[in-house]
Symmetry: C2
Subunit: 544 residues, 2 copies
Amino acid sequence: MNERITQLPKLRDESLLSDASIDRIKNHIFELFSTSDNTKFAEKEIEELVSSIIEDFLHDTSVSTNLELNTIAQQFTNSAIPTVSSDVGSYIDNLADNVIIHSIRTSSPRYIGHMTSALPYFFRPLSRLMTAINQNLVKMETSKTLGIYERHALAMIHKLIYNFSNDFYQINTQNNESTLGIIATGGTLANITALWCARNYSLGQKEAFTGIEKEGLPVALNFYGYKGAVIIGSKLMHYSFEKATGLLGIGERSLIKLPVDCNSRIDLLALQRTISECRALNLHIIAIVGIAGATDRGAIDPLLDMAEIAKEANVHFHVDAAWGGPVLFSEKHRHKLAGIEMADSVTIDGHKQLYLPMGIGMLLLRNPQMAKVIEKNATYTVRKDSIDLGKRSLEGSRPGMVLFLQAALNIIGHKGYEFLIDEGIRKTQYMAICLRHKPEFELLVEPEINILLYRYIPKLWRQKAATGTLTKSDNQLINQFNERLQNLQSQAGHTFVSRTTLEIAGMPIVALRAVIANPLTTEGDIDSVLEDQIKTAAKIAVLS
Amino acid sequence: MNERITQLPKLRDESLLSDASIDRIKNHIFELFSTSDNTKFAEKEIEELVSSIIEDFLHDTSVSTNLELNTIAQQFTNSAIPTVSSDVGSYIDNLADNVIIHSIRTSSPRYIGHMTSALPYFFRPLSRLMTAINQNLVKMETSKTLGIYERHALAMIHKLIYNFSNDFYQINTQNNESTLGIIATGGTLANITALWCARNYSLGQKEAFTGIEKEGLPVALNFYGYKGAVIIGSKLMHYSFEKATGLLGIGERSLIKLPVDCNSRIDLLALQRTISECRALNLHIIAIVGIAGATDRGAIDPLLDMAEIAKEANVHFHVDAAWGGPVLFSEKHRHKLAGIEMADSVTIDGHKQLYLPMGIGMLLLRNPQMAKVIEKNATYTVRKDSIDLGKRSLEGSRPGMVLFLQAALNIIGHKGYEFLIDEGIRKTQYMAICLRHKPEFELLVEPEINILLYRYIPKLWRQKAATGTLTKSDNQLINQFNERLQNLQSQAGHTFVSRTTLEIAGMPIVALRAVIANPLTTEGDIDSVLEDQIKTAAKIAVLS
């Protein structure tokens, strides 16, 4: 077999390194990893360099440089891994000049187009601490206290939603048999995990059948006598539900997307009718999905009615509150989420309205036993009798993001979150008023919380827009105009909103999309974003 | 419907806050988020506090405190989110005293039981930078240069495996139509993504059938005329493959786990026989899985033979090189992975032998078009014509971990990684020699790379062990002894190895498991770990 080994590509033609260069490499590596005084000194210098890069980055008020992506991309096509290593300082200088400088200033008060905002400063030192201790939450032997700390944080979020008795939390928070929640890297994995649980729970072990997780979907449907399996929600469901249905083997076609009413809430009659139809067709309903803060417009489904319908139908009720979950902190607005406490599972994103750094979402489970249907074991880790968190999660090894969650819950606190939520909604109302008063704009959807959809109406069409007599071809031209406007605004880098496409009266309508969550965004910043758009629009008129 | 709103649990009984306390909360929040001089000063103080916590943590040579998990757990059961917020300094002091201090010192040279090691220092400042810029890689509008930088890093790892021509990388690295790889949070997601691709690619669109992703597994099997679908690998496959088969709807039972030979490599005859049997039974083979560095013992499958068998059978060949992938950096050892360059997909973990902080794995794809079978779109993000990375990935929003990968490739460099790999294997050989010479121990598996399985043999059984005459009940008692030994050693916190269970001659054998990857681990540290075990074993003898 030896002669075939040469098929493995040879990476380098160099002859073997001299002893001197081996020594150099050895010293380089030890200096990078060691805790010696030399390394400590080098680290301190690099910390200072990074501090100044961060300060430059955060103090710049623009959203980005105007360098085009294609131009940047051309610099990054050489695919060889450097043989000789860079020293840390030069590498970081280079990184600052070529990469960081062209990054998106998600913290800018005038970047109000995506679900990423400024962060509290304490996450910066905490990130360093998280990397320094480098725990792996898959297993207590690689995390110890952090595993316990994670269970504790999840209990706090669980209580925010379900508010069970203190006894319930005393019994379940640190109990290996219970899973109050699962931390994942984001809402997508949380949603997938929820539906994985729902599928396995509803098509579980029964008599001689050992359950869908072991025997697979075709055998499960056959055993239970179903013709297929579906998941039902409104057409505003996040695209992670398409991933979930694809992954779980039921197929995207089995994701039933129902129409919404004029407030962007699921049509309840359609929901009831669909449940009856599925029953008549012998289709198993794995879950009904309610939305608390639709990604494109922030709409909230009538969760209480949906919960009652789901209960009546004996179907798992999942609420995707990735965006809207933290509205529960607000005395003033939490009633909008009424019914969430009846959900079997709830997704909340940490890196959205909990203001945590990117990479943390979570799934909360009403029934602490439910996650057992996804339990896995391995002899070298997460053994059957172990208390390891990795037994019941989609991911394996994962970082101690719980440090961020706990810090935020303790340092921002309930009242701090309430203020953040209330302020975002208040400023969104301010923006809505501005839009209603400016002839250049049309508010497309009445904002439910802090996401707002609108569009620019070029002068030519304002009369028709005001009287509701725009034709399909008018709208097509206005759509093109708004796409161009958003591209130019984004490209110039002074301010930013995103865009989406709505369906209004059967017509696709391109919408500008503002997400107002950054506490540093003032009314003046909102004015500036709109002024920037008016100026940019004027340029388009000249160009076209 | 209003009267039902009261069903939502009320969280607090307090009356509304006074204006003064609202002002206090407002100021607190602005200070946390702002870039004012006050905040800058506060941040600097916290950075110093965190520096001293990190220094204390990293300089302590023990693995952990001996405080028991249960005792720690009792402190963390109060599930109320604090109403009033902590100030940052007190919170972090508290964190240091109650959480960090009892964390696991994964960087300790005597912590040689899991796949986590010391990290180069530059990741600490870089973590802070990553959080400061807080990019979201799902979309270019939230990441810009970092998206390009990620494509570039993946091309470098792709080239390390496949070494295609420079033209290939010029064309594909920054091309929106191509996906050379996908960054995920770890090997588990990378493996699941690989099999998701393999499933969808092999049961894809054909004639009137729109493909399994849309139509689901039962319809796909029916259309293609299969009775079921399977995935085949050795019994040493990582438990993420059970997750994958469960999730993807084929069921854990469809994961065919073949026996291994005396070198822990898949039995090739069994593989060929199984393929024929599946064909005869009309079972579709989604993928054949090769292992490059089995989690429990580091064994490497005969990848070249497997690749040829898979090619012959026209089946997707996936290599799980989560652990072993970076062996490719070593001129001396890379021949062990010969055949990996024929794999359709390869998993490599960043937070294992690329020495990156926890939370990065990756999937590399031979065919840059393959990932199109998992593509998703949404109007508010990752639109069909967009260049967004989130179009083709299991996860949605995710952090800029690529900063770590690029820094390491540039600062450690090819030669630095070669040194790290060679050293780990060299020291593992040293440990194997020690074990062979100490009567207290038995080496259970000849190490292929840098994972080593052995056990302690209490005096009573040494004679029988030496002559190979241990009975089943002898082994059961030795198993109990080794379990206890590992627990006590782990609990005391001076040194650490993990444990697993092997099957030898049909008997379950508890093994101690050393993973030698930390460049700071010296031969002296290895001696200390073994001495600690001998001392601990003596205590067990006294106790029992």
